[in-house]
C-alpha cells in the first residue's frame, strides 16, 4: 500500500505541472496588453508601465512562468489588482461558504441516491427501472441555473418558505446556517443525485449477475441480505470513483449557484474577479480549485485501493 501511495503521489507532479502551465497561459492568452485591460481605456501610459513592472509583464514569458511558479510553491499567489490584498488570503476568506455548500449537497446527494439505487435494483424487474432511467436522464439534462430559477420562483416567491439569498456562518447558529444553505445545496445536489444513483444502479446490476450472488441465492440466503451484503457492498467500490466526479460537478456548479443565491464563496469570487478583470485572483482561484480536485481524486484512488487490493498490483 505504501508503494502504491508513493507511486500515486509521484504521478501528481506532471499533472500539477500541466495544470499550472494552463493556468499561467490563460492570462497570457488575453488579446492585447493585460495591464491596459486591467486599468481600462483612459489610463495613462505611465500607470500602464508601472503595472507591467508590478506584474512582471516586461520580462520574457519563460522567466515570468518560473518566477510565478516559484511564488506559488511558497503559497504566494500574487496580489489582487482590485483590492491589493494577497490572493491566498482572499481565497481563504471565501472558503467557508463554498465548503459548507459542498458538504451539505454531497450529503444530500448520497442520502437520496444510495437508497434510490438499492430500491430500483430490488424492484429491477418492474416498470420502475425504465421510469428511474428516464428521471435520472432528465436530471442531467436540466441546466443547473434554470432549475435554481424555478426553485427561487417556487420556494422564494410563490411559497416563500426558504431564503433565496445570503449566507450565515456556522458560528452564528447551525440551524440558521443550514436553513440558508438548504435551497442552493438542494439545487446543486439535484443534478448529481440522478448521476450517482444511475452509476450505483449499473454497478449493482453487474453484481447481480456475478457467480457469488448466484451462489448466495442457491445457498438459500434471503433476497434482502443478498442485496445488501453481496450486491450493494461490491457495487460500492466503483462508486467511490463517482464521489470524485460528483465533487468535480459540485465545484463547477458552485460558481453558478453561489452567484445566483449571493453566497460569498469561491465561485462568486471567481465571477466577480472576471467582471473586474482581476487576473491574479482568477488565476489563483482556478489553480486552487484544480488542486483541490486533484487531491480529491488522489484520496478516492487511495480509498479504492484500500477497498479493492487488486488495484495496488496493476
Amino acid at each position: 500500500m505504501l508503494q502504491y501511495t508513493i507511486r500515486r503521489l509521484l504521478s501528481l507532479i506532471p499533472v500539477m505541472l500541466i495544470v499550472s502551465i494552463i493556468v499561467f497561459l490563460i492570462v497570457h492568452l488575453t488579446p492585447g496588453n493585460p495591464a491596459y485591460l486591467i486599468l481600462g481605456e483612459d489610463s495613462s501610459q505611465e500607470s500602464i508601465e508601472q503595472l507591467e513592472v508590478q506584474l512582471g509583464l516586461d520580462k520574457p514569458m519563460v522567466v515570468q512562468f518560473f518566477s510565478w511558479i516559484g511564488n506559488v510553491l511558497t503559497g504566494d499567489l500574487g496580489q489582487s489588482v482590485y483590492s491589493s490584498e494577497p490572493v491566498t488570503q482572499i481565497i481563504i476568506d471565501h472558503l467557508g461558504p463554498t465548503f459548507s455548500l459542498m458538504v451539505i449537497s454531497l450529503v444530500l446527494t448520497l442520502l437520496v441516491a444510495i437508497p434510490t439505487a438499492i430500491f430500483v435494483v430490488w424492484k429491477r424487474n418492474t416498470a420502475l427501472d425504465p421510469i428511474f432511467i428516464s428521471i435520472s436522464l432528465l436530471g442531467v439534462s436540466i441546466p443547473e441555473f434554470w432549475f435554481a430559477m424555478l426553485m427561487v420562483l417556487c420556494f422564494g416567491v410563490a411559497i416563500p418558505i426558504f431564503p433565496v439569498a445570503g449566507y450565515i456562518p456556522v458560528a452564528e447558529g447551525a440551524i440558521n446556517w443550514f436553513y440558508h444553505l438548504f435551497l442552493p445545496a438542494f439545487v446543486l445536489a439535484a443534478v448529481e443525485i440522478g448521476l450517482v444513483a444511475r452509476m450505483l444502479r449499473d454497478g449493482m446490476l453487474e453484481s447481480v449477475n456475478q457467480d457469488y450472488t448466484r451462489t448466495a441465492k442457491a445457498k438459500g440466503v434471503k433476497e434482502s441480505i443478498v442485496l445488501m451484503k453481496h450486491v450493494f457492498f461490491n457495487a460500492l467500490i466503483p462508486t467511490t470513483t463517482v464521489i470524485g466526479t460528483t465533487i468535480a460537478g459540485l465545484l463547477g456548479g458552485t460558481v453558478i449557484i453561489e452567484t445566483m443565491f449571493t453566497i460569498p464563496g469561491i465561485g462568486q469570487l471567481l465571477i466577480d474577479s472576471i467582471y473586474r478583470r482581476d487576473y491574479p485572483v482568477i488565476q489563483g482561484v482556478i489553480l486552487f480549485i484544480a488542486a483541490i480536485y486533484v487531491l480529491v481524486n488522489l484520496l478516492v484512488d487511495l480509498l479504492y485501493a484500500v477497498l479493492d487490493p487488486r488495484i495496488r498490483y496493476d
Binding site: 506532471p14 499533472v15 500539477m16 505541472l17 500541466i18 495544470v19 502551465i21 494552463i22 493556468v23 490563460i26 492570462v27 492568452l29 488575453t30 488579446p31 425504465p130 432511467i133 436522464l137 432528465l138 442531467v140 439534462s141 436540466i142 441546466p143 443547473e144 441555473f145 434554470w146 430559477m149 424555478l150 427561487v152 420562483l153 416567491v157 449477475n209 468535480a248 460537478g249 465545484l251 463547477g252 456548479g253 460558481v255 453558478i256 452567484t259 471567481l270 465571477i271 472576471i274 467582471y275 482568477i282 482556478i286 480549485i289 484544480a290 480536485y293 486533484v294
Partner: protein, 285 residues
C-alpha cells in the same frame, strides 16, 4: 423494443427542432425582430403562445430562432472535440512513446471541472461565438481522448491487427482502416453526450454574462435577460429553459440508447437469458 422506440422519439424531436429553426423565417407569424413597445411582458395567450419579452417580442418565435446559434455551437463543439479527441486518442493508444506525453497533458486538462476551464478561457479570450466554441472544445475533448485511447488499447492486441503489423502494413492504414472502425461506437456515443454538455455549458456561460453577447439570441442569453423579470414575467424564464431541457434530454436519450445498441455484451446477455428461459420451459413442459 421499448429502447428502439425511445431512440426514434429522441431522434424525431431533435430533427423537428432543427427543421423548425432552419425554416423559421418561412412560417413564423411574429418574427423575433418584430418589436412592439405596447405589448411588453404579456403573459402567454392565443396570439403569443409563450408570451412576450421586455421588448414586446414574441417569445415563441425568439425561442425557435435562438435554437440556431445554440445548436450551431453544440454541433461544432461536438465535431471538433470528436476529431481532436479521436486523433490524439488513436496516437496515444498506438504509440507507446507518445502516450506518456499526451496522457499527462490530458490528465492535466481533466484536473479542471470542464465548466470552470471554459469559463476561465472565455474570460481571457472574450465572449463571442467563436471563442465560446474554442473554450468548450478545449474543455470537452480531453474526455474523448481518454475514451478513444482505452478503446484502442483494447483492440490493439486483436490478431488481425497483429497480422497487419507483421505483414508490414503502414501505421496510417492500420490506424484508420483497422483500428478506427472498431472504436467508432464509443466515439459516436461520447460525441452525442458532448453535444448535450456543450448546449448546457453555453447556456451557463451566457447566463453568467461571460458568454455570447445578449444581442445574439441563444437560449442562454434569453435566460440571462429574463432573470430580472422572473417575478413579473415567469414565462420569459420558463420557455427557453424548457427548450434546453427537451433538446438536451433528447440528446442524452439518444446517446444512452446508442450505447446500449452498440454494446454486444448487453445484447448477448439478453439473448442468453432468453435462451436459458426457453431451455427451462422445454425442460419443465
Amino acid at each position: 423494443m421499448f429502447k428502439n422506440k425511445r431512440n426514434l422519439l429522441a431522434a424525431g424531436v431533435l430533427l423537428l427542432i432543427i427543421v423548425a429553426t432552419i425554416t423559421a423565417s418561412l412560417w413564423l407569424k411574429f418574427p423575433p425582430t418584430h418589436i412592439d413597445p405596447e405589448a411588453r411582458l404579456l403573459s402567454p395567450s392565443g396570439k403569443n403562445w409563450f408570451g412576450t419579452d421586455h421588448f414586446g417580442r414574441d417569445i415563441f418565435g425568439l425561442t425557435i430562432v435562438a435554437a440556431r446559434v445554440t445548436l450551431f455551437v453544440g454541433v461544432v463543439v461536438a465535431l471538433l472535440s470528436t476529431v481532436l479527441g479521436t486523433i490524439t486518442g488513436l496516437i496515444a493508444g498506438y504509440y507507446k512513446k507518445a502516450e506518456f506525453i499526451i496522457m499527462r497533458i490530458i490528465d492535466g486538462m481533466l484536473a479542471f471541472p470542464a465548466l470552470l476551464l471554459a469559463l476561465a478561457l472565455v474570460a481571457a479570450l472574450g465572449g463571442n461565438v467563436t471563442n465560446i466554441i474554442i473554450a468548450l472544445t478545449f474543455a470537452f475533448w480531453p474526455v474523448m481522448t481518454r475514451i478513444v485511447r482505452s478503446a484502442v488499447l483494447q483492440v490493439n492486441n486483436i490478431q488481425y491487427i497483429e497480422a497487419a503489423k507483421t505483414t508490414g502494413t503502414g501505421d496510417l492504414v492500420i490506424l484508420f482502416r483497422y483500428i478506427l472502425p472498431n472504436v467508432l461506437s464509443p466515439i459516436i456515443v461520447q460525441g452525442t453526450f458532448i453535444f448535450a454538455k456543450a448546449i448546457l455549458a453555453e447556456a451557463a456561460l451566457s447566463f453568467l454574462g461571460v458568454g455570447i453577447d445578449p444581442s445574439t439570441p441563444t437560449w442562454g442569453t434569453m435566460l440571462q435577460e429574463s432573470q430580472v423579470y422572473i417575478t413579473i414575467a415567469p414565462w420569459f424564464s420558463i420557455f427557453p429553459g424548457v427548450a434546453i431541457v427537451i433538446t438536451v434530454l433528447a440528446l442524452n436519450m439518444l446517446g444512452d440508447g446508442l450505447r446500449d445498441a452498440f454494446d454486444p455484451h448487453k445484447k448477448n446477455q439478453k439473448k442468453s437469458t432468453k435462451k436459458l428461459f426457453r431451455n427451462r420451459k422445454q425442460k419443465y413442459a
